[in-house]
């Protein structure tokens, strides 16, 4: 077994640098304003190759979840969860829910991004929005 590793294409590097600063940014298309994830060379909607790294609001809605009962990585001991979140900016991300475990009522709940240290690096995860 080995530790979980990042996919680091040349377009991913600026994103992970923004995460390390605690301000996750994604490319926002200069042509049509659409955010894209994962980072890539061209807007899939309008095909503009111009974009600006734009910090996320850090908010979203929980779409779905799973709990791993099998170990795949040294640095992830089961059971642990993974969730999908629709960011306010549009893209779907995969991350982990912290502060609570997902359950049958979690889909549709508002979440906010929090930064945690994992293996010495910053990793964006989500927790439920306080007001809920």
């Amino acid at each position: 077994m080995a530790k979980a590793t990042r996919v680091l294409s040349m377009y991913d590097v600026p994103m992970w640098e923004s995460i390390e600063r605690g301000a996750w940014a994604l490319q926002r298309c200069s042509g049509c304003g659409v955010f894209r994830y994962p980072p890539s060379p061209i807007c899939p909607d309008c095909h503009s190759m111009e974009s600006e790294w734009t910090p996320l609001a850090g908010t979203g809605t929980l779409l779905s979840w799973t709990v791993f009962h099998r170990q795949y990585f040294d640095d992830y001991k089961p059971p642990y969860n993974a969730v999908t979140v629709r960011l306010t900016e549009g893209p779907i991300i995969v991350t982990n829910l912290v502060g609570a475990e997902p359950d049958k009522d979690c889909i549709g709940r508002s979440v906010v991004i929090v930064y945690e240290t994992h293996e010495g690096q910053q990793l964006p995860r989500v927790k439920y929005t306080k007001s809920e």
């Binding site: 994830y37 779905s64 791993f68 009962h69 099998r70 992830y76 893209p91 994992h118």
Partner: protein
């Protein structure tokens, strides 16, 4: 007649000894490598068709074996060839035959994934080079194709009211089928309670929702239809239609998985395949669905029009998908219970059902068999018939 309908027919099928090889590999042995399993299947498919190797003028090699080396190992110099998975291999063979670029195409697959300890999750997860979603979310511990389907299925249950118990009907039905299949690795029937009490791997998916991992090989020989009709001692199984539709936009961020569960691609492929074949879902005697995970089955039932959208739970509970009741789905036991040959065993099962040689698991009066897959949102659909 449109597209590649009735252009080609399957005249020979073969496979390796899944049960015996699985027994050996489970004890740490390795009877063959991928080329060896492919070679066994090749010889059996040739014998089944009653032709000699020098008649083969096209070769489709499966994705796990290099095309040139496969042709070298089998001693074939084709005039046409490609490397492809099972479903696209059938499509490519029909296109080549239709274009006159080949008349007799060998499709051959071998995979030593069990004895070679191939990992479908974790570091260096298999398939990651072709599908970024298989590896991109690893920093969050999210890995394995099972987890992708777990995430998809959880959302599907939330939106449709489908339950884990409904999904259990798939594993139970396919075990009934494999118990009637002397070539199936898993022969012991299971009950819904067995399913519900089995452990989770990636919740909400249970162990029985996962396909097997085993070594083996499969081969088919596809021949130009008029030539196939003249073969002595062989009942050609005609390819009546093929459809394909991909959902690649947003694939890594799981957009098509989570918003409409790949059903739009299946609907499009269904329109193509039924249109080309000139038949509909109601004409199908059996359905074979690529089942790396049981979740594929309810989505295919909806996407291909066997039941209304969001109606798969009711279909599974009331109509049924087994040889005992309803529309027989994955009559060999499929990937869950017969053998994980990445769609290849579904093709030869479809052929054998149309031939009517399936013994205890034979579908009565089997005229058309529909194959469907939606691997990573690439929906492919094939109709086999007399």
């Amino acid at each position: 007649m449109t597209g590649v309908s009735r252009v080609a027919a399957v005249v020979g099928v073969g496979n390796s000894d899944w049960i015996a090889d699985n027994r050996i590999t489970r004890n740490g042995g390795k009877p063959h490598n991928s080329f060896g399993y492919a070679a066994i299947a090749f010889k059996r498919a040739l014998a089944d068709a009653g032709i000699t190797a020098d008649q083969i003028d096209g070769v489709v090699a499966g994705p796990t074996t290099a095309h040139e080396r496969m042709c070298e190992v089998l001693g074939i110099n084709p005039r046409w060839g490609v490397q492809a998975d099972a479903m696209l291999g059938v499509q490519e063979a029909c296109l080549a035959i239709n274009a006159g670029m080949a008349e007799v195409v060998l499709l051959v697959y071998g995979n030593d994934q069990k004895s070679a300890a191939v990992n479908y999750g974790g570091a260096n997860a298999a398939g990651g080079a072709n599908f970024l979603s298989y590896v991109y979310h690893a920093p969050w511990g999210f890995t394995s194709q099972g987890a992708l389907y777990a995430m998809q299925f959880q959302r599907y249950m939330h939106e449709t009211g489908f339950t884990e118990r409904d999904l259990g009907e798939v594993a139970v039905a396919q075990r009934l089928h494999s118990s009637l299949n002397p070539q199936a690795i898993m022969q012991k029937r299971i009950s819904i309670d067995d399913y519900l009490t089995s452990r989770y791997v990636t919740e909400p998916l249970h162990l029985f929702d996962y396909c097997l991992i085993n070594d083996g090989g499969v081969a088919l020989i596809i021949m130009e239809a008029s030539r196939a009709a003249k073969l002595k001692g062989v009942k050609p199984v005609v390819i009546h239609g093929i459809g394909r539709s991909d959902l690649s936009r947003g694939a890594t961020s799981l957009e098509p998985r989570l918003t409409d569960f790949y059903r739009p691609a299946q609907r499009e492929a269904a329109t193509q395949v039924f249109g080309m074949a000139g038949v509909g879902p109601e004409d199908m005697s059996a359905l074979q669905v690529y089942d790396s995970f049981s979740v594929h089955i309810p989505l295919a039932l909806e996407g291909y029009g066997y039941c209304p959208t969001d109606g798969a739970g009711e279909f599974l509970r009331e109509t049924g998908i087994s040889l005992a009741k309803g529309l027989p789905v994955n009559t060999s036991g499929g990937h869950l219970s017969e053998s994980y040959m990445q769609g290849w065993n579904h093709q030869i099962e479809a052929v054998r059902q149309v031939r009517g040689i399936c013994g205890e698991r034979q579908v009565p009066d089997c005229r058309f068999v529909h194959y469907s897959s939606d691997v990573a949102g690439k929906a492919v659909s094939i109709i086999y018939g007399e």
